[in-house]
Symmetry: none
Subunit: 194 residues, 4 copies
Amino acid sequence: MNEGRTRPLRADAARNRARLLDVAAEVFTERGLGVTTEEIARAAGVGVGTLFRHFPTKEALLQAVLVRRMERLVADGTELAEREQPAEAFFAAFRLVVDRSAGKEEFARALASAGIDVHAGLGELSGAVRELLERLLTGAQRAGAVRPELGVPELIALLVGTNASMEQLGPDPAAHERIFQVVFAGLRPAPADR
Amino acid sequence: MNEGRTRPLRADAARNRARLLDVAAEVFTERGLGVTTEEIARAAGVGVGTLFRHFPTKEALLQAVLVRRMERLVADGTELAEREQPAEAFFAAFRLVVDRSAGKEEFARALASAGIDVHAGLGELSGAVRELLERLLTGAQRAGAVRPELGVPELIALLVGTNASMEQLGPDPAAHERIFQVVFAGLRPAPADR
Amino acid sequence: MNEGRTRPLRADAARNRARLLDVAAEVFTERGLGVTTEEIARAAGVGVGTLFRHFPTKEALLQAVLVRRMERLVADGTELAEREQPAEAFFAAFRLVVDRSAGKEEFARALASAGIDVHAGLGELSGAVRELLERLLTGAQRAGAVRPELGVPELIALLVGTNASMEQLGPDPAAHERIFQVVFAGLRPAPADR
Amino acid sequence: MNEGRTRPLRADAARNRARLLDVAAEVFTERGLGVTTEEIARAAGVGVGTLFRHFPTKEALLQAVLVRRMERLVADGTELAEREQPAEAFFAAFRLVVDRSAGKEEFARALASAGIDVHAGLGELSGAVRELLERLLTGAQRAGAVRPELGVPELIALLVGTNASMEQLGPDPAAHERIFQVVFAGLRPAPADR
DNA sequence: TATGAATGAGGCTTCATTCAT
DNA sequence: AATGAATGAAGCCTCATTCAT
């Protein structure tokens, strides 16, 4: 009955949850997965109890951060795929993913460390990601802009790898661009001769 | 090389040290940096006390493992550089580095986690690595086999990134080869036209 | 009974209080004193805040549960004492107490854990209990149905003990009856000879 | 090979383990199962780490305490059974069990709380206890000293119950004796008449 | 007055490092 | 020099209680 406005009680809770996600994303990224739950809570301006009320486990928090990140990536990537020509969409999306992953390389580690659980939680989402990547990749391949022998696994690997390269370089836009040039050139079909 | 008398008491100690390094390299690689010192010691067949006698800190052990790995890389890379033609040497060394790093990606994390300290310990070594890479890179560039605008930082970044790609793919030699093809193609000078 | 105007607001409050007592009695009994206040509140269909409005402390709630249980016991025991012959009243009351305590053994633990405080709260009540027990006991002793050397403390101890026996046995009516037979036989005056 | 003396290294460890068991038995008994591991360790004069080195879990420590207690009971009860006439052995053992359990009532709670795990750990031991009790009980029954309709479960229940009675009474030897008289009288076969 | 989100002290447990043997 | 038991700081998480809505 009470349409329109958000219910006052949940307002603070929602804000805290969002705040925790934002802060956790930042702090995990900048200081690694080793940050204590206490630190995250303090950075978010709440008590540990609040953190654990919203996320039953440290890992659950990490997972939530990852999910949110991916959801956004998928959303933006999908938009790209619909707006641009296949080849442009593909390369733009490649940049998008790498840029968005900037500073988050350690998150990849979460997959290894937290392993199965994280994946499980990301489950349905992973499907969406995969579908989007497949759509972008095959589109670009049909357009003759990308080597036909590559599959989604290789694409993901190259995304992860390119991101790792960027991490390694540190913040140097020009150098980043040179890496992109190398990878993009390499992605294009090999010249017929040789 | 061993200049004079061997000190009998040191024999066991040296063996233990070597054993610890071997085992630590393996166990860090396979189970991550989270392995406990106790586990490493047990795997090496010694007590924790012995581990800490040889390496004052868990991090020091990790560093020693990294140093040894790099020393070997530099030695093998140098040999390559001396034996092969510049272009061949470059690409062979690229493969060498990536293959040798296989399964060790988490070590890169040590740089982030343990940060400065590790670097410090690697200090002098880094110089040697850098020199070798520079020699290989400029050789290949002079031979026209690699884009001239790339520098050593980009090369290192691409090595790290390619390694990350391989890690992501898991053990699939054919897929690994496709990644190498992409990166190598991308490393070659851009065609004149366009 | 309700002397004048009903205060509408209190109606809900009273209902909540009663509900909480009922639910707490049940849940404490079935899942132990370890149940969280949150669970009790949820089981009662109210928020924790409400629970704490009615009972300032988890322990206070436990105490209230105990008090209510005893009030009822005293009431029923008193009725028995007035209705039956001394000996019959005594043994019937003994059964009554044990049966009513069924499944509540852990409550005895509350005495140890919460200790003094609970006793304090039960204070006045304990007097009533004691008086009733004394009345029942001396009645039965005068009737020659119970050993004359026993006092109220021993009676209470035997009640507690018999209850513990029943708890230990689990729900087996026949076995329970055998225990009662042993205890009742033991309570009767020792035969003159030997 | 090193026969005879205990190995020096283990000496302290064994002493610490024993010390922890003794102290834990005492402290669990006197202050309930709620005592913190920290307190137990402090009382034993060791660090928490040492406690956890010897007992992987707080519950494991509790179980070890229970096992030791039972082992001793079984040993002493067995000796009794072999030394005395059946009836005397039975009643002496009954006293032994109750006296030994003095102050340990809360341990019974452990069975409920820790449940399965504790039982599991006690597994083989429970068999020994049961056998001993059966031997004592049937011996006394054959000698006509105990009601024939009672089984081991009832015996255990009465032991537990009598212990609870004693707990309830507090330290009052004369009162304890009165309880024993009641229970022992009740255990004897019912008089033929009536 | 009811709600349930927030709080934070405190519990159990782990593990790098030290030290007695 | 080697061993492994001991140490204790620190991490994650729970839960009785408080407080804003």
